[in-house]
Each structure stands twice: as C-alpha cells, then as structure tokens.
C-alpha cells in the first residue's frame, strides 16, 4: 500500500473512470460501482469498500473525479459519521450490513444524542435500553434530530445501566426507524423553520446484534462520532460545482443534495450575514449616521479579526505546529460576530425591523437574520460550554466541583 505512488493512483483512477463513468447512468447504479470498486471512498480499508489509500492519495482520486465531473459516493448528512463510527467500533456483521448502503445513498442516517433533559450534559441521557431476550427495548425521547423524518437508521445513545456512574452506564446502538415504536415529530423553531425533529421511543426494538462496541462503552463510541462531527465542519456542505452539468445522474444528485440541504437554508442568516452590512447601510442611508458608522466599523473589525484568527489556527496546523489558543476560539468568536451583526442590522434597518416575510427588507432575509441569530450561541455547544472548554483546556484553570458522581440513579436530573 505504502509503495503506491501518486502517478500510479492517478493513472489507475483515470483508466477506471474512462471505462466506467457515464452521466446517463442512474445515480444508484453508479454508486454501486463506486462502493464495489473502492473508488468511492479510497481512504477506507480495502476490505470495506475502500482502497486503503492515504489521505493525500485520496485527494488525487478526488481531483480526477472532479476533472471528469464524476459524481462521488453519497456523503450528505450524518451518514459519514455513522460510517466512521462503524469502521472504528462496529462488528464485521454491522459493517457488512450498513456501510455499502451508506455509500450508495440507499440508506439515510440520523443521530440520537441530545435529549430534552440533557443538552450541554450529553452524558446525562435518560433514554433507556433494556435487554429482553434477543432485543433491546428502547423508551425515551431524543431531540434536535436533523432529517429523522426521512432517515432509515439512527445512531442511538441510551442508558443500559443505572447503577454505574454517569458516563459508564451508556451503550451505543443502531436503531431502525421504520418501526411502530418510533414516532418522529417536527420541531418548529422560533424562526418558523422546522429543521429538526423530536423523536419518541415507546418500546422500540433494537436487535442484540445492533449494539455498537460493548455494553457500557457507549460514551467512548459516541466520542468517535462527535470527533468526526467536529472535524467535519460548520454544518454546511461544500458548495456544489455541479449545478449546471447535464445528464440523468446529475439531475438525480441535485435532487438528493437539495433534500439534504433543505434544513440548512437559514444557516447563513443564523451566522448574521456580515456580507450584507455595508450595502444595506448605503441602501438605507445609515452610512451617514456617525453612531451607526462606529457600530459598523466595530462589527467589521470583529468579523475580520475572527476570520484572521481562524486563518492563523489553520496556518499553524498546516505547518505542523502545536495548536495555539486561537484554535479553540472559533465557535465563541462566531457567536459574537452573529450577535453583533444582528444588532447592527437592526440599527441599519430601523423601524422596518418590525416587519417580517416579504414585508421585511431583502425579501425577508433581514427578519430571518434577527430571529435566527439566537441559535448560534447554543447549537453545537453553548457559549458557556465553550468558555469552560477554553478556560480548562487552554488556560488550564481548575474544573468546578461536580455533583454527578456515583451511581447515576442517585444523580439529580431533570
């Protein structure tokens, strides 16, 4: 494996694409070829739908796919987090059963971690799984589940031992959503969108063989999922360059992408739309107001500084230097930027900020910013949790005393 060169991989993938790529194929037909040849996920192990290539060589493959405009293996939503978790902790039987259909896009996945009673304190989950014969019986409620309404499988973190300490009583399962004990309800947010679901489990069944890792190791397995989630991104899939490509397969892929991205249409507004600020000020004449000019300059300074801080972190990483404090600050900085944007958009917009929908400036975008920004400082770790992380991991300050040790049964909960 280590002897394969850049040029060899390039010529091999080129040859394979020349022989196999056809934009008039169906999306499924093509993705089956990708899964079975290993070219869809070249960095995965050879025995599991990959080719065992390094990340650098996988990028070569990616380039060649891009050169001919070939569609990649399915990669939207939670499916790759599921795959990464199964590759690391799953049994051979689980890998065989799930990985291929992840890559072909036949199965869609979602993640059941957060609960109404455990948000920041994820390990405080109280959804329970009890072993009865060959099945784990699941009861409880999960929340903030993207795409649950069209997912086939879920990654489930549930409590299997109430006498063990908090983190040691959890187990990790793959649960099939297409069963009577699973009730998926949309969760409508304050901005009117329903990007998430809440999911109720009433005696839902998980076959014994769908336990991932060992009983009581659920927290460790969940950490793998979360690590990949963090590495993954800021939520938004990379912009597609395939928008105008012709062929049956591209049309099918566009439909797939649109469905996958549907929950995220308001995400740019959630981040505050700093890109609109100067134009909007000129549009409304707010650029003449000395106070608003100050506030705009203050916001732009913050936004630019946050961007440069992220670039510093990336530069240090690329040079293989130990990560400095700048690497842990992005999430909190983004919160500040979003909040400041929301405030300055209001200053610029004035009384029109009372309006929403089409009555609101920019076809409702401004109103959507104002009612979406409060999500930023909560989603993916609240500002307060970020501050704890920064204080404890970067500044090495001591932890607060804990009150959740000992058997979980005795720990105070919601």
């Amino acid at each position: 494996m280590s002897t394969v060169s850049d040029a060899e991989v390039r010529s091999e993938v080129r040859e394979w694409l020349a022989a196999n790529w056809d934009p008039d194929m169906s999306l499924l037909e093509w993705r089956i070829k990708l899964a079975d040849s290993g070219w869809g996920m070249p960095q995965w192990p050879k025995e599991w739908y990959g080719r065992g290539l390094s990340h650098a060589l996988a990028r070569v493959v990616e380039e060649e796919f891009a050169n001919v405009g070939a569609v990649r293996a399915a990669n939207s939503g939670v499916r790759l987090l599921a795959a990464a978790t199964l590759l690391e902790h799953g049994s051979d039987q689980q890998k065989k059963k799930f990985l291929r259909r992840i890559l072909t896009g036949e199965d869609t996945w979602c993640q059941f971690f957060s609960e109404p009673g455990s948000g920041s304190d994820l390990a405080g989950a109280t959804t329970r799984a009890d072993l009865k014969g060959d099945f784990w019986i699941v009861n409880g409620q999960k929340v903030w589940t993207t795409s649950a309404h069209h997912a086939d499988h879920g990654l489930l973190l549930a409590r299997t031992d109430w006498d063990a300490p908090k983190h040691e009583g959890l187990s990790y399962f793959v649960i099939n959503l297409k069963q009577p004990g699973v009730d998926v309800q949309p969760l409508k947010q304050m901005n009117g969108h329903a990007s998430f679901n809440q999911v109720f489990f009433t005696d839902a069944k998980v076959p014994k063989e769908n336990l991932v890792g060992r009983v009581g190791e659920g927290w460790k397995v969940a950490m793998t999922t979360l690590a990949h989630e963090r590495r993954g991104a800021d939520g938004l899939p990379a912009p597609s360059k395939r928008g105008t490509r012709v062929g049956k397969i591209h049309a099918e892929e566009r439909a797939e992408t649109e469905k996958a991205n549907q929950p995220y249409t308001w995400y740019p507004q959630r981040a505050g739309r700093v890109d609109l600020i100067i134009d909007r000020a000129k549009e409304t004449g707010a650029n003449k107001d000395p106070y608003i000019r100050q506030e705009i300059a203050r916001l732009m300074t913050l936004a630019k500084s946050a961007e440069w801080t992220a670039r510093r972190a990336r530069a240090a990483q690329q040079q293989g230097r130990p990560q400095g404090p700048e690497g842990s600050l992005g999430k909190l900085a983004a919160s500040h930027v979003a909040r400041a944007c929301s405030r300055v958009h209001t200053l610029i917009t004035g009384t029109d900020a009372m309006l929403t929908g089409r009555e609101s400036p920019r076809e409702g975008i401004i109103a959507e910013i104002l009612v979406s920004v409060p999500a930023v400082s909560i989603a993916g770790g609240t500002d307060e949790i970020q501050r704890n992380i920064i204080a404890e991991r970067v500044l090495e300050l001591p932890k607060e005393p804990r009150f959740d040790t000992g058997p979980f049964r005795n720990v105070r909960k919601n």
Binding site: T301, S305, Q319, L332, A391
Partner: protein, 392 residues
Amino acid sequence: MSTSHQSTSASGRRIQFAFTDEQDQFRSAVRRFLNDKSPTTEVRRLMATAEGYDPAVWRQLSEDLALPGIHIPEQYGGAGFGMVELCIVTEELGRALLCAPYFSSAVLAANAILSAGTEMQKSALLPEIAKGARIATLAITEPDGNWDPAAIKVVATPDSDGYRLDGVKSFVVDGHVADLLVVAARAGKTTGLEGLALFTLDANAGGVERRLLESMDPTRKVARIDFRGAHANLLGSLDNGAEPILRTLDRAAIALANEMVGGAQALLDSAVNYAKLRVQFGRTIGSFQAIKHKLADMLLDLELAKSAAYYAAQAVAAGDPEWPALASLAKAAASETYLHTAAECIQIHGGIGFTWDNDTHLWFKRAKSSEVFLGQPSYHRELLMQRWGVER
C-alpha cells in the same frame, strides 16, 4: 507545499498567517533579553527618573540586538528586516513594559525619515538612529491633541538657509531626551492637508523649549515643545507632504497595536496565574465559572486583537494597498482590548489589584495612554470607514 495559510494581497504578494521559524527565534531572543533587563523592579526604578530609561540597557539593546534599526535597510545602517520584525519587537517591549525611547526613535522618527527623506538625508540621519547613538522623535500633535495632520498649526517659514518653525507641539514621546526632532509643520496661509511637510532640527537648537509633561503613564514620557523661530531643515520635499506624515502615523499605529497586544498578553497571564493561586470559599477562584468565563472572554478578545495587529503588519510587508485601513482597524481593536484586559485584570485581583505595590497598574496606565495615543478608537473607526470608501 500548501499555501492556503496565506492570502494574496492586491500587490500579488502573500499575506502570512504564521510567523516563520526565524521570526520565532528572533522573538525568543528579544524576550530573553527583556526578561533579564526589564523586570518590574527596573520599570519602577526607571519610571521614577526624569530621563525615563537606562542608557546602558539602551546601548545593549542597540549594539547587541540591533533593535532600533531592525526595519531600517542595510544601506542606512539597519538590519534590513521589515514591518513584521519591527512589530515583533514592539509586541515584546509592550509585554515587558520596557522603559526606553524605542517607539519615539525607531518607530516614529525612523519611519518618518524613511517615508519622507531624500537619499542623502536617509544616509545622513538613519545610521545614528539605527545604532541607538542618537535618539530621535516625531512631533505631530499640538496642545489640542488632534491626531489628524489637517489640524497642524505650527508654521514653517522659509529663510535664507532653510526654515524657521513657530508654534507649539505636544504629546511628543520622549521629546525631553531626544537629540533630533522631526516636526510636522505647514506653510503659512495653508489649511487642511495642503502645505504640510516634515522638518528636522537639533533638539537643543535655539528657539526650542522643551518641557516634560506630567503623564499618567510614567513609562511613556511626553513633552511639550515650543518653537520660536527655531531653525530647521526640510525633510524631503514640499510636494504632497501630507502623505509621508499620514503613512508614518499609520505604520506607528500598527506598531502600537502590536505593542498593546503584547501588554495585554502580560496582563492576561498575570490574571490567569493569580486565579490559579488565590483561594476564597475553600477553592481557587479560577475554579469559579464567573472567573473562568471572564478569563476565557479575555483570551478571545486578545487573540482577536492579535490577529488584527499581526495581519496589519503582514499587510505592510506584503505591500497590500489596503494597509492604511488595516492600521486603523488594528489600532482601534487593540486599544479597547488592552484597556479592557487591564481593567479585568484588576477586577480578578480584587483589592490587591488596586494597590500601588501590585504591578497591574503599570500596564493599566500604559493601556490608558495607548488608548488615546495616535488617536482614540472612535477616531480610527471613522478613518476605517472612510478608507474603506464608505462615504459620510
């Protein structure tokens, strides 16, 4: 090799987001020197003297480390590095709060001479400044404290062999110990940015009267200078004389922004260390979220200001034409961060933080003087908007 940690400026050169290994080594050398030469006991000793610096330390800093000429081209006796290295020096000086005429001589005066001087003037004036043998400073602001060169009132009148200066300058950093003065003045009967130019004269020349002002920050001494027909030489030319003044102030703003984030880092370190030591209610105060979150916010604030200060310095080095706007951005950001960090550092120390014996006030005062030196944050935010082309 990956280049995505850089961004291309309009000039086509890359803006770097990381220091090079050489720059890091240089920083370490400067820091070692300052750790040794500028403990707060020395800062306290020197700030109480009239001169405000230790000539022996200044000589070492000049001769052993070549710091005053770090950014001066080799042909004028300097070390031939650039804005990034100059800002590494000021960041470290700000961290150590060194009492020395560095900002006045190396940052303000040397940059003014580099920006405005003729080849002959640069060759004549810069080598002595680079060697630290002659201390120079720049006089721009007048008793009204306005940093906009358009407000300059000191008049330069041509005479037989040069010019005569009349008027008053104030807030002249190290003006009381400088050997050479670079003075911004205007031709009679001109207004605004028209008719401005820079002039040089010996600080001990006739018609020059210098008075040390009582300053809030005793580690940065400022003087008032009265000119009554003092004889001076034109630096460079009379054409477009405002340009070198503006660009000198912009470079100084970037150097100051870096000095300020250095000082803020020292304050944050001090606050974090104290929070780990101080015990109340049976726990170190650093274990309380009220304190942890405050410190986390201070760190974020500081890293953001650092990013702006570093980026502005890199933009000068890369020749990005946007750099004067970035100077204002960095100055405004660092000013507020420095003062806020100082105030919070006192807060975390509690009562002891308000005492004379605790060192925090040394940096607090530097933060306060730096906040308004070269223009307040609000002034620079307005400049930023104008420089970005957002019309009033």
